[in-house]
Symmetry: C2
Subunit: 330 residues, 2 copies
DNA sequence: TTGTATGCGTTATCAT
DNA sequence: ATGATAACGCATACAA
């Protein structure tokens, strides 16, 4: 078969153009010692032909591809968007490419993507996933975010317990007497669930009364409205502090509180979790427990790419901070 | 050299395990006709060894890799995040993988990523870029978003002109008498610049008075504050309508207006551009001209993957819509 | 120091 | 229908 005239040039083409052997070109490309006159000729040929190494062929040979897959539910929830951004940046710094896989919380898709990634012989996978039965090939290093997936798979997460505790303490410090904890989302056991325990702990240690409303899978958001309405007396909420499990929820609750004519933060203070800043802004969307996203990103990549596989810790919790965002008293 | 015992299994391993020839395994994997007993044995071996095809080797052979690179400034600006999400979904539907490249508006990085992508022999690149001098190998199909990059490169964008016009008309319809257009961002000539012309056109056709404030590269946001302050009389803004070039800007302007004690939308109505919804919410962050992101995503992928390369249009403008988001009168 | 030859995992072309 | 073999582009051990 004839070689297609206008397909991308290969090392062979460069070698012919420069009048040297294949191996010489390879050496120049990889920065190995080569006689100066040869080197110059090869470099000229490369420029002339606009040659680029084919990293698929490289990967086939080296069985390392400098590619990492990231599994994440989506990119439009700000916390996820921020993770994607920072992981991408960290990978770039190390000259790694990133395969993005939006899973939409779909367990089937998660598995499908993992297989896709493995076929692509990625060097590793970072995943924020929800499928409790994911099958992961043992040849592919995996780092989990926010979910412990067994002894062989390191999990990176925020210090969710401390965050919950911090929220409770902050509400107490800001003068709250009766607080509520609101939670929605997957009933799957994962690290963020510890926010609840931390909150309870904080309330107890500060003598802050509290109540919880936890929605199970499938229960609609309206349940929260009912809950809040059922805790009103004379048009006033009996809570003066609310800790929401995420900023997303805090955002929705904020809207509901407005509809119920409750003033935030005058009558009721709200704290969320994540540290969402909408337009890459400096201002937070709500008062919140901030997750250290850049550090989470760095840690995931570090763990994934470090080769002494034995020393990998099973669970890494990174410290959170409180930030004012308008929904608490300053 | 000894084959490493615990490296991933290959077709050869499967063939040995099943006691058949290599070619037979390949056929089974690719769904080509194979005698039933063979097929069963091969499938068993595949399951047993947990075999996965190596798509790098496939790519090397086929010189098509089912991978597309997406260049985008970042993933935390909601409009970009939404693009990333939808393009990812569309690609997935077609069994394509996506290499994500956050460029941070850095021209050097943009070029670097393009080279990285080409080395990876991606089947194509979709790029929302700012470098006016990008060098793109002619062997790699490229689709530009929001920027015309020459006759050989199709550009997909919203109908920015119509959007600007729509904003003006909407403000007029909602009773505005004196409007302002605010723009910030790259001075680079790109499609979104047409929002200005469209707005002017709309104002003229409705007899709406208007003024513009366009910040050049490097001018800080504070210039807008100055501008607004210089248009106040007796503590009241002389504008009753503002069209911001993006929702991001509308968000910032909204804050400034609050600081200036202007009531939105009672005293001044604000319209942004993009259609930003923060938490994947149903509600818009502000009244806005909505870009059809899912359609943009679909169109980019369509154009990129259709093979009759000649018929590719040079500029595709997709229709925008107006949406209420609280910063205009209902 | 430079060139040659082999193999990476897969697919496709051939005989069988 | 099945099995052997060459080729894809690159890296490297080895021979020159």
């Amino acid at each position: 078969m004839m070689k297609k005239a206008n397909s991308a040039p290969t090392m062979k083409d460069v070698a012919r153009e420069a009048g040297v052997a294949l191996g010489t070109v390879s050496k120049v490309v990889n920065g190995l010692p080569v006689g100066d006159p040869y080197k110059v000729r090869v470099e000229e040929a490369i420029r002339k032909l606009n040659y680029q190494v084919n990293s698929y062929a490289q990967g086939l040979k080296a069985s390392t591809t400098h590619t990492v897959a990231l599994l994440i539910p989506n990119t439009y929830i700000p916390f996820y968007a921020s993770l994607v951004y920072h992981i991408n940046i960290v990978l770039l710094k190390r000259k790694y490419r990133m395969l993005l896989c939006s899973t939409d919380y779909d367990p089937g898709l998660e598995q499908e993507y993992i297989e896709m990634a493995q076929q692509n012989k990625v060097d590793g996978i970072i995943g924020l996933t929800y499928n409790p039965n994911l099958i992961i090939d043992e040849h592919t290093p995996f780092i989990a975010i926010d979910r412990s997936m067994g002894p062989k798979i390191p999990c990176v997460t925020s210090d969710n317990f401390a965050g919950g505790q911090m929220a409770a303490e902050k509400l107490a410090d800001l003068g709250c007497r009766r607080a509520a904890f609101l939670r929605i989302g997957s009933s799957l056991s994962n690290e963020p669930n510890k926010r609840k325990a931390g909150f309870e702990n904080g309330c107890l240690s500060r003598g802050l009364e509290y109540e919880m409303k936890i929605l199970n899978d499938g229960e609609p958001y309206e349940e929260f409205e009912k809950f809040l309405k059922s805790h009103m007396e004379n048009g006033k909420l009996t809570f003066d502090g609310i800790f929401c499990v995420t900023d997303t929820l805090a955002h929705l609750i904020g809207r509901t509180l407005r509809d119920l004519n409750q003033k935030v933060p005058e009558n009721v203070q709200v704290i969320g979790f994540d540290g969402t800043r909408c337009f890459g802004d400096l201002e937070y969307m709500c008062s919140t427990i901030v997750q250290p996203v850049p550090e989470i990103a760095e840690m995931c990549v570090d763990l994934l790419l470090q080769d002494n596989r034995l020393s990998k810790p099973q669970l890494v919790c990174l410290p959170v901070t409180y930030a004012y965002g308008g929904t608490t008293k300053a």
